[in-house]
Amino acid sequence: MIECPTCKHQEFVGTLYCGECGTRLVHGASVPTMEVSRGHVEPGEGTVTKPGAQEGPELESGAILGLRVVSTGTVLSLIGRENYTLGRLVPTQAVIPDVDLSPFRAHEHGVSRMHAEIRLDYNGVHVIDLESANGTHINGQRLEPQVLTPVRHGDIIQLGSLSLQLISRYRV
């Protein structure tokens, strides 16, 4: 049996899409994730600037979570689920991340198609690196793949070299 990385549903070997949540269970060939030089992802790049106390008025009403793309200032609201995969949609591929970062030049930034996941539960908000090629950093600290790391409002989540700031109205 194989396990769906998103919902932990068990499927037979060879299954291509999770019957429970529709997550793609294998990675196909496409443009491989770009290698970015180490320099880009080492800490101390000056991206760790915490926002003020303001709690993201840019969030859509009803949203308690969001991501601000640091380079453009765009705010992506996360609504309606308890977990969101972050990645890069490739038109010819059926890997569909919940949050598609390709409008933010994700490919050049070294974002994998399924790069990381944000998970919400009663313990708070967590980020998990989905064994991405260029790694996920929280405030400059590189995450171990597949390990839940708690994040708070204002934290910088770096996918490859793409920086996202977490906006959270979530109270534990």
Binding site: M1, E11, F12, V13, G14, T15, L16, Y17, C18, G19, C21, G22, R24, V26, H27, G28, A29, G80, R81, L89, T92, Q93, A94, I96, P97, D98, D100
Partner: protein, 492 residues
Amino acid sequence: MAGEQDYYKLLGVPRDATQEQIRRAYREAALRLHPDRNVRPGETELFVGVNRAYEVLNDPARRGEYDKELRAAEAETAEKSGFRCSVLHSRKALLQLDEPQVHYLLFDVTPAPGFKVIRPPVNLCIVVDRSTSMRGQRLDQVRSAAQAVLDQLDASDHAAIIAFSDRAEVVVAPDQAKDRSVSRARLSLLQAGGGTAIAQGLETGLTQLRQSFQRDGVNHLLLLTDGRTYGDEAACLEMADRSVTDGITISGIGIGSDWNDRFLDDLTSRTGGAAIFLDTPRAVTALLQKTFDDLGRVFANRVRLEGAFAPQVDVRSAFRLHPDPTPLSDALPLVLGHLGRDDSIRLLLELVIHAIGPIHELPLASLKVAGDLLGQAPDNPPLAIEIRCPVTGEPEHEPPPPEILATLNLVSLYRMQEKARHEAELGQASLAARRLENLATHLLASGERELAKAALGEAERLVHTRHLSTEGEKRLKYGTRALLLPSKSGAP
């Protein structure tokens, strides 16, 4: 060569078996079938056959000769068949595994080249629901759409229009169909009123089709309804099964939100047809026109996939992707309906394969594509397809073919919708709502804003009322199916 048995099959060994494998298989078969210990009828002949097979295959020179003949004979049979078929596997090799594994097959059936192009005579019967709810725009549209089709009939075509409510009557008989003033006058008599007894309409329609049956043409019944039939579903399905044997296909158009989509799907798909959902009656004209045009382009009817799967292989699901995306029953023979002349039939099978031991190759299935070619010389054997797949001990990391991935992605969206509906019916409203939200996310990611909105709307409704709307159910079901249409998925 023709008519003779395949020696390899007789011994139960693969074509590339080693001499040792052949010897072992022979010894086993000979022991089992030897006349001294076996007197069951037919087995002596089998014993003789096995001996002959061994005699040939055990001698490398004679085996080489035989292989050549066998391939030539097979190629010749395949050449004569009116069909071509390609099969794509989701994996290059199966795994030696003591638990079940999933394998997908994508079939493309196309007409063989070199056949003369003809337009088959069309024998069409349109069966119209004239229950009270059809009053007004719905019936007006159907009337003008039907008239438009009647106006285009060829000399060799036949058409009839049946209306039903609690009973059925012939509105336009075949001999009136080609006379414009008569058919117009007859159609104007078509007025709404009464209930929806589909069995009545079907029976009268099928009777008309049988009376003007075209042996060398397409015989098709198109059912238009906007309501539910009560109590006569079983009778309808029985009629549908009988019509398959006669070579009559049934397709359905459901207008609005109150018809029974599951019933119409079942009724039509078992004949090789499909049900289509229209949220507005305005589209009836275009749809009727398309149906009529497609019938004039049919190359073969009663197309079906026959044969058998290996004992350790189960078909978990079968889905016709083109034309008219529809889930099919998972039992052979699969009824596939019409094959158009410049068209294909695309089919996705999901197989569950049970434990595989240390072998090099697994024969998955021995299948045949059969069907009746319209207006062609009668000598057209079905196309035999042997499906086998290598087995390895090491998992390989080659990605599945993109066509299979793209298709499966869309099929999985359809399945999510089905599952949510099932959960809603079981009273698991919050589970269903979450699933629809998830579906909406996937749909948005594929750029399907309207459909995503519909899914979110239904999810919200589930939270408030614990039920899906009858319209939303259909919109999601047929909407996710429509994602598989070539314009969207890039399939041929």
